[in-house]
């Protein structure tokens, strides 16, 4: 049975640009899929196709068990969308924004009003509820936008780069909100350029590049694909480096890399923490003083580099996908 979000062979071209080149996705109910990729990879286009905003040239998609192309209006009843921009009317108050969205989801005026009040409390906006959104900070606007997407507690949520442009404190706050939301059973598709964010929030990650899903799995699985763990040692004295390299070679499963100027040695290992303890003991016995030592697992940055052959181009200034 297909999941709450399902896509098969989505293709979308804009003129010469093939924004989507056969995207396949399957998100089981109640889970979070992180769509990870650089600018222009096709993340936003995928979200737009799944949320009925854009008609794919070919392919099939289902959301909440409904065919997106055949029953767009029914799909719209079951989804919440928080786009790249905080789509709130800045001349309306927070409360008026939420009431309007509620009514347009076909709630009665009274129900929309009650729901707006609840959400303002929940998103910590109650004090600012009757101020126009123009006076809100970036983080508050984002929260209001997210609240608007949650007016009907839709079973399926889409968030397109929800934390792009937010400062770390607000990003942390939004992560908490998203985690709570997911613990309530909502299925979520989240796009992000922040590898850390996908690692933090998503059960599953799909790496997108040039309009295709090029890798799929849990964060751990993707990291394992890139290669195993490694031990990094920074020695205190430069003259100890060759001794340390000798020790590491004895434990390592591959070539030791030496970064002379940083007094840092790295070696791939298997055996984890136990091995680390042995290395420390051996270094101690030989009287080699160390500044730092650790077991490093590959980051999603490493994953991205090994999958795509180029680093993820995170552009903090504007999170817009260039191709669109």
């Amino acid at each position: 049975m297909p999941g709450a979000i399902y896509a098969e062979g989505l293709v979308k071209t804009f003129g010469d640009v093939r924004a989507l080149d056969g995207v396949d996705l399957d998100v089981p109910e109640g889970t979070v899929l992180g769509l990870l990729g650089p600018n222009g990879a096709g993340k936003t286009t995928t979200v737009r196709c799944l949320t009925t905003l854009l008609r794919p040239d070919s392919g099939r998609a289902e959301v909440a068990g409904l065919d997106v192309l055949k029953h767009p209006n029914e799909v719209r009843r079951s989804i919440g969308l928080s786009g790249q921009f905080a789509a709130v009317d800045e001349y309306l108050t927070g409360r008026e924004n939420l009431q309007m969205v509620g009514q347009l989801y076909q709630m009665t005026a009274q129900a929309a009003k009650a729901r707006a009040g609840e959400l303002l409390e929940q998103f910590n906006l109650a004090d600012a509820a009757d101020r126009t959104a123009k006076t809100y900070s970036g983080g508050m606007r984002r929260r209001l936008d997210l609240a608007a997407a949650l007016v009907v507690s839709p079973p399926v949520m889409f968030m397109d780069e929800p934390t792009t442009g937010l400062d770390p404190r607000n990003r942390q706050m939004l992560w908490e909100v998203i985690k709570q939301l997911v613990s309530g059973g909502t299925t979520l598709l989240l796009t992000t350029q922040y590898l850390e964010e996908a690692d933090h929030l998503a059960h599953d990650i799909a790496v997108v590049d040039h309009g295709r899903v090029i890798a799929r799995g849990t964060s751990d699985q993707l990291k394992a694909r890139t290669g195993g763990e490694r031990v990094e040692v920074v020695v205190h004295e430069r003259e100890h480096m060759s001794d340390a390299a000798e020790i590491l070679a004895g434990f390592g499963k591959g070539e030791t890399t030496v970064e002379e100027h940083m007094r840092k040695l790295t070696v791939p290992v298997t055996g984890g923490a136990k091995l680390l303890a042995e290395i420390i003991r051996e270094l101690d016995v030989r009287g080699i003083e160390i500044d730092d030592i650790g077991l490093r697992r590959p980051t999603l940055d490493d994953v991205f580099l090994s999958l795509t052959g180029h680093v993820a181009e995170v552009n903090d200034e504007n999170g817009k996908e260039a191709a669109e």
Partner: protein
């Protein structure tokens, strides 16, 4: 966040027409609240037509020849229908700019992801502009009375006819906001929508009977002016206000201006509403 699990029930799809009316009113209300919070926009919208009334009356008034008379009183009475009609068409720019702004800020995306009636975002906007146009007309009529405009200056009229004339003006303004809606969905920025909404209005409102007697134009230009939808409404207003300067042209719209005005406006709504709603359905920010 326990409330998330208590799914808020959405009403089952109701009658599509009543849903469309309801959604349009929700969006209209939103736009009216917006307008009330940006009063400077409303005020600037008023200054321009008032300026036109004063400038045309006092600068051109003495030298314009209307139906054999050069009296400035006659020109005032001739002029007002033209100024009123020109003013209502300026709502085109405001509708266009409003919709372009919504596109630009991602609000159109939000609306398009909601289970709402397809045409409601645009209908709501055009209805809000209609309210603004009505207010502008009211203020303008008062200013016109202050500078000496009088209905029934050239024959008999009654309150019903005068209200009918204002009705035709509002309908013309409403029709033109749909052209503005299409422009707003087509251009990329609110600034472009404002200028794109205004520029073509100058030839439309000047190649007409609004400010001059068309019988003094070159024949081909006069032909254009006589068949200009805008002229029909101006002629209808002069007839209904019983103001001087009713064109003696044989052209059908000039002979039956009330009908012509109604037909033109309804046609413009039908054509541009269809185009704009189609455009909206595939709109991409």
């Amino acid at each position: 966040m326990s409330a998330v699990s208590d799914a808020v029930r959405i009403a089952p799809p109701g009658n599509p027409i009543s849903q469309s009316v309801r959604d349009s009113l929700v969006v209209a209300k939103r736009n009216l609240i917006r307008m009330s919070r940006i009063p400077e926009m409303v005020i600037f919208g008023l200054v321009q037509p008032i300026m036109f009334v004063v400038l045309f009356t006092y600068v051109f008034g003495g030298s314009m020849k209307i139906g054999g008379s050069t009296s400035s009183i006659d020109y005032k009475n001739f002029l007002m229908a033209g100024i009123f009609a020109q003013t209502v068409t300026f709502a085109t720019a405001s509708a266009g700019a409003g919709i372009a702004d919504d596109m630009h800020k991602g609000l159109i995306d939000r609306f398009r992801s909601l289970p709402m009636a397809r045409g409601a975002v645009l209908t709501g906007r055009t209805l809000a502009d209609l309210v603004q146009t009505a207010l502008t007309l009211l203020v303008l009529a008062v200013v016109a009375l202050l500078v000496g405009w009088r209905v029934g200056s050239d024959g008999d009229t009654n309150i019903g006819k005068v209200l009918g004339a204002f009705g035709l003006l509002l309908l013309l303004g409403y029709a033109f906001t749909w052209i503005g809606a299409l422009i707003g969905l087509t251009v990329r920025t609110p600034e472009a929508a404002t200028s794109g909404g205004l520029i073509w209005l100058f030839p439309v409102t000047f190649i007409s009977n609004a400010f001059v007697d068309t019988s003094n134009m070159t024949p081909w230009l006069r032909h254009v002016a006589d068949w200009n939808p805008f002229s029909a409404t101006v002629q209808a207003c002069r007839e209904l206000f019983a103001n001087p300067g009713i064109s003696a042209s044989d052209a059908w719209p000039m002979q039956h201006p009330v009908w012509a005005s109604l037909i033109y406006s309804v046609l413009i709504v039908a054509i541009f509403r269809t185009l704009a709603v189609r455009k909206y359905r595939s709109a991409t920010a």
